[in-house]
């Protein structure tokens, strides 16, 4: 195993991890504040991807257009988040968690059905935009530019969330609601509105991830499932609802995925599952447990 192989595996792991984090970000946010495990998250990620695809087609004309389409997807999915909150989530805030799980699963099925109706069941593949369709080479190391873009996007979303959550007043308010929604209400904070804002932000992140990760994918109605499992594992290992924890966990899982494909290429995913099981046995509360997002 040469040094370049290891370097390549690390960069590849960071890219996979960043992609996982982009999906996990909204998932962990909604869990941290509403304590909802949103099964439908993957479906909204997929809808984001389809919306962006409808805008840019299979061959995006430029990087700008590619990124703008991702933000348009974020806005469209955020609007769907508002609708889902009104129709489903808001009504289930005061009932047992099990109903919420079933409800989000139902939303997932509905969304998958709607995607098939609108965009059909055929596969589509999308090329990266110019500038990202090549590779960066250093000696014998060969890294696709799109991987570097995904790493940058993951970092951008992570730092943005950290900044909003820990440095802005709205973030501190959301943390107050996350850690003690009862006291927040007693202090006159409009808790239902804060929860709605969170749902919209979480869905926007799903849509954004769909748009940003669109290239080099086969777009089909099962896209939602591919990242969702890893994203769920990242949220659990991260400490259920903690953004920083989810980021570290995503990078860890990405690196394990990529490293194990180098070492045991014929058993994809195996090392990841073993890692997750051992990790949870050793540290069931996750990397960063507690009440904070």
């Amino acid at each position: 195993m040469a040094l370049t192989d290891i370097l390549f595996a690390l960069i590849n792991g960071a890219a996979t991890g960043s992609a996982v984090f982009l999906v996990a970000a909204g998932l962990t946010l909604i869990f941290g504040i509403l304590k909802i495990l949103n099964f439908a998250h993957g479906a909204f990620f997929m809808i984001g991807a389809y919306v962006a695809y409808s805008i840019i087609g299979s061959n995006p004309s430029s990087l700008h257009v590619f990124i703008a389409a991702a933000f348009a997807a974020a806005a469209a999915v955020a609007a769907l988040g508002f609708v889902a909150d009104r129709l489903v989530l808001r009504r289930l805030r005061h009932v047992d968690e099990a109903y919420m799980l079933i409800a989000t699963f139902a939303v997932l099925l509905v969304c998958t059905g709607v995607v098939k109706l609108i965009w059909g069941v055929n596969y589509a593949s999308i090329n990266p935009p110019p500038l990202l369709d090549g590779a960066v080479t250093a000696g014998s190391l060969f890294v696709p530019s799109y991987s570097l873009f995904v790493i940058a996007a993951g970092l951008f979303v992570f730092l943005g969330l950290e900044l909003v959550i820990h440095r802005t007043w709205i973030g501190k308010l959301l943390q107050a609601v996350a850690s003690d929604s009862w006291m927040s209400g007693v202090l006159g904070i409009n808790v239902p509105a804060a929860l709605t804002v969170t749902v919209i932000a979480s869905f926007a992140l799903a849509g954004l991830a769909g748009g940003l990760l669109l290239a080099n994918q086969t777009l089909s109605p099962i896209l939602g499932e591919s990242y969702l499992l890893l994203a769920f594992m990242a949220v659990i290992i991260g400490g259920l609802g903690n953004v920083r924890g989810a980021f570290i966990a995503s990078l860890l899982l990405g690196t394990i995925e990529s490293g194990s494909s180098l070492v045991i290429p014929n058993m994809p995913g195996m090392a990841t599952y073993i890692f997750v099981i051992l990790f949870l046995l050793a540290k069931p509360q996750g990397l960063i447990g507690g009440r904070h997002i």
Partner: protein, 234 residues
């Protein structure tokens, strides 16, 4: 101003309050005393619609509050300081106080958080301390400061002296009195510490197993030593 009319309150199927009635007038200071488990906290939470299921009428300025959610009641000027204080640990003392700004009533100018803090001499040096790093007495002071920061018309203070050292209890009595006088807030105080309750209020309700068993002036209580024996185990 506040009128609670024959309310029953429930946790699940168990009934905690039985036909409780009380009124508090504008700027009035009233105590609710009773043993552990008598239903004081349940009564306060019922008034804010913050936990128990309530049957009966709770009115504010003559209007039935019905099913109005907690945060809207807070915005009418009802400010609850829970017995477990619940200071946010992820923000500073000053930011904890700033969190109360959402309880402001329309058209009412709030004091800056620094000015609120200045009313509590003990808190001034702790302004930038994180909420999670306070002693019990400091937490209680912050909780009162936070409650008063929204300029309430009635502060509901639930067993503030529980677990506090005697000197802190004295300091708290002085601060609560001053703050109520200066801001014009009324006070509904739940206590087991009769000395403290007497310092801060003019009259009292005695509550036992979810029922009001006596109401009157402190003097009236002194005239009935038997009440104290029966309901306060003194």
């Amino acid at each position: 101003m506040l009128s609670v009319d024959r309310i029953d309150a429930f946790y699940g199927d168990s009934q905690i309050l039985h036909g409780v009635s009380l009124t508090v007038g504008e700027k009035e200071r009233v105590a609710v005393v009773g043993r552990n488990g008598a239903g004081k906290s349940t009564l306060f939470k019922s008034i804010l619609n913050a936990g128990p299921r309530v049957r009966g009428r709770i009115a504010w300025e003559g209007k039935d509050l019905g099913a109005m959610p907690t945060f809207r009641r807070a915005r009418l000027g009802l400010s609850l300081v829970p017995e477990d204080r619940r200071i946010f640990d992820h923000v500073t003392v000053l930011e904890n106080i700033a969190m109360a700004r959402y309880a402001a009533r329309p058209g009412v100018e709030l004091e800056a958080p620094e000015a609120v803090l200045a009313r509590f001499p003990m808190l001034v040096p702790l302004k930038d301390r994180m909420g999670g790093r306070l002693s019990g007495g400091q937490q209680q002071m912050v909780a009162v400061a936070r409650a008063i920061a929204g300029r309430p018309r009635l502060m509901l203070l639930d067993e503030p002296t529980e677990g506090l050292a005697p000197v802190i209890v004295e300091q708290l009595a002085r601060d609560v009195n001053t703050v109520c006088r200066e801001t014009g807030s009324g006070l509904l105080l739940s206590e087991q510490n009769l000395w403290f309750a007497r310092q801060c209020t003019d009259r009292l309700f005695l509550i036992d197993t979810g029922r009001i068993v006596f109401d009157g002036l402190w003097q009236d209580l002194d005239d009935n030593p038997d009440l104290k024996r029966r309901y306060l185990a003194l």
